[in-house]
Amino acid sequence: MADTTMGTPATAARPSLFLRNATGLVKAWSTFDAFIYSFWSINLITLGLYGMSYVYTVPDGQLLVGILLFGVLVTFLVITYAMLVSVMPRTGGDYAWQSRVLGGGLGFVLSITGWWFTLFLWAPIYANILVVQFFSPLAYTLGWTGVATFFTSQTGIFVSCLIVLAFVSVVVTMGMETYARIQKVCFWIGLAGLAVVCGLLLFYSQSDFQNAFNREATSLFGAPANAYQGTIDAASKTFGGSSFGTFAFGPVLLLLPWLAFYLLWPNWGATLYGEVRGAKDIRKPFWSMFAGLWVTVAMVAVVVLLINKTIGWNFYQSANAAYWNNLFAVQGAAAPPVPIWPYPVMFAGFLVNNHLFQALLIIVMGLWFFGWAGTLFLSSTRVIFAAAFDRVLPAWAANISAKRRVPYGSLALMIVPSIVISAIYAFKPSFTSVFLDATAVLALTFFATVVAAIILPWRRKDLYEASPIARYKVAGVPAITIVGVITGLFLLFMLYEWSFNKDNLYGTSFQSTPNSVYYFLATYVVAVVIYVVARVVRNRQGIDLRRIHHEIPVE
């Protein structure tokens, strides 16, 4: 019976709403839980350190300023997504928003390329992160040089991709509830590990680090004496050096597309569930994403400052330059004395002259990977399900096994192509640029959602005016349009730089990487073909796909 009364929190003096007991009326999720998900999505260690290892390409870009600027700009993305969640909480997600505002066909093509086809590329990227942050440093530390070098071979790269795909499949099979528990454990232990890393970098000096690096370079890698200077010398063949104190606005802007690799995703969990009291309240989703973003930004700032203090900025960037330029066979590049990706966690571990401790630190910090990577195909699975329920994909794509509730149809649609793409990644190095474009295509998907947000007040006037955000206007212009335009310009800038940067700074410029262009054009063509074929086939079956999102007249 109606024995539950809830008042509005903001004006608790008297009740503003009477609720009765009814199915689905739940209390809000804890902001902390939602924060953890957002925090994982812009994973400071796995994605962050990996992405930042490329910023040597912009030596005059002041990273700290770049990170803060990126944080400010992504905040507009966060506001845009929080507003969309507020307008359409139940049917949230890029696919639903794009379909309902831009149209079913366009929504399908943009979402399926962004959340399905492009995610194939992320499996090898995840695999590479697993190798450079876990397998290789751990193997070298334990003296298993053979294992470490195996993972740098083509077969080893392919095996690492298979390991990632197997791990993701296990997570999908065990279900999100179990994995969420694992994530929490990984979160706390990972944070403890990060505290140790920061503590080491804080309390030791740069000369301590130089000595420790030289010692371990010889001990673990057989490098000649003074590998610290040797690394800088090796990098100097292709890299002019970098100073942390240099500041110029133009180069800071050029850092943004690199930072997008890990800081663009606080909205990853924008699809929220449940009929929560105040679900349309913009504050809950906003604060979850905002906190995830800015806590990460603050932590990155601390890590960057500590790297500068103890490891030395020029050395760190030189190590990155030497590693990547040698790997990509840049003309004139020399092999660094320590033939491993410059992992700041491993470097911090060097400060303690104990290989067991160093290995333990790498294992603990590996939890940043294992607590995060399991959700690789979560969004893809949802988009495939939605497309299958819309009859654009065959019904089997949404099949779930009766016993363990494994979505084997969508899993197969992700795993099988991912294996093929992983093989290409491992055995055809000329396709590398395709993988560098993985961020850009997701940014394009976000851009389409942002366009949907910009025009929402006019395209779906009914929905917009009935939502709580309708009252937010600036000079009569809907706030969602304004923040959407700012976000859109930000995304467009990065898309332009990825596509047309004249120096091919990001390895993805159209003029230099035709493979990448062909691949992504092909994915869009395939998505269009799937939609058109589905339209024709379903039409013969008496199903008109155009009417999926056609609104029934009210009066």
Partner: protein, 311 residues
Amino acid sequence: MPKIFFATDLHGSEVCWKKFLNAGKFYGAEVLICGGDMTGKAIVPIVSENGHYTVALGGEEQAVAADQVGEVEANIRRKGYYPLRMSVGRLHELDQDPVKRAECFQEVMLEGVDRWMGLAADKLRGSGIRCFVCPGNDDEMEVDDVIRRAELVELGEGHVVEIDGFSMISTGWSNPTPWKTHREESEEKLAARIDAMASQIPDPSRAIFNLHCPPYKSGLDEAPAIDADLKLLHGGRALRPVGSTAVREAIERRQPLISLHGHIHESKGAVKIGKTLSINPGSAYEEGMLMGAIIQLDPKKGIKSYQLVNG
């Protein structure tokens, strides 16, 4: 052969009910089936004081001029809430007295359903469209009487009805939920309730099971995990199957042509359980969007086609 439009869990959204009534013409369906949970979950007080009205919707309290109250009421109804004008004294009375609050809820809910039946009569008269409604677990038992009195809406609960050569059974009862709603019972009793109707069906291959609660572990019953305090776990990302084992067993044993479900709004989908096509179209009533399923039946094929739509 009949084309069916099925929607469910409208929860007091008048926009969705109007769309439901228009769906027959819009999609060319001859049969409309509403799967239950018609009534809303909340009353939004519109408090009269000092010559104006005060209402809080979407988190912030706002003053509303008398000539704007109608618009505010329409907006509240759109979300599935019941707007109710009242004095400050009545507000405090309802706040403090659960019995009076319950009486008030029943009054506005039955009045709302009665108004919907009137709308149905206006819309469907002369159209030839049959309209079935089966109240769900969130609907009080008194709702049935209002539907029985309706001119052009047929009550589904507990009956076997014939639809152009196909038989349909309906129940809005569910297995126990954490909310202890109006039509909940043990799996054993629910199984007996379904069995009593299902045993009257001559040919399961031409049967429609309109059962509000979805089958257990079907993918149509995945609800966000909550704790004992009804708090969402893991940021709302973790899902649990909460459907009925009795419903699943009935489908597996009887193998009807199609089974129609609701109850779990987030769990939109269409799955095969043996030969049966089971559908939960989901619900987004608070957005004023009518999620539904169009099913074209065929005398030979059984199901000629089906489609989930967001109307």
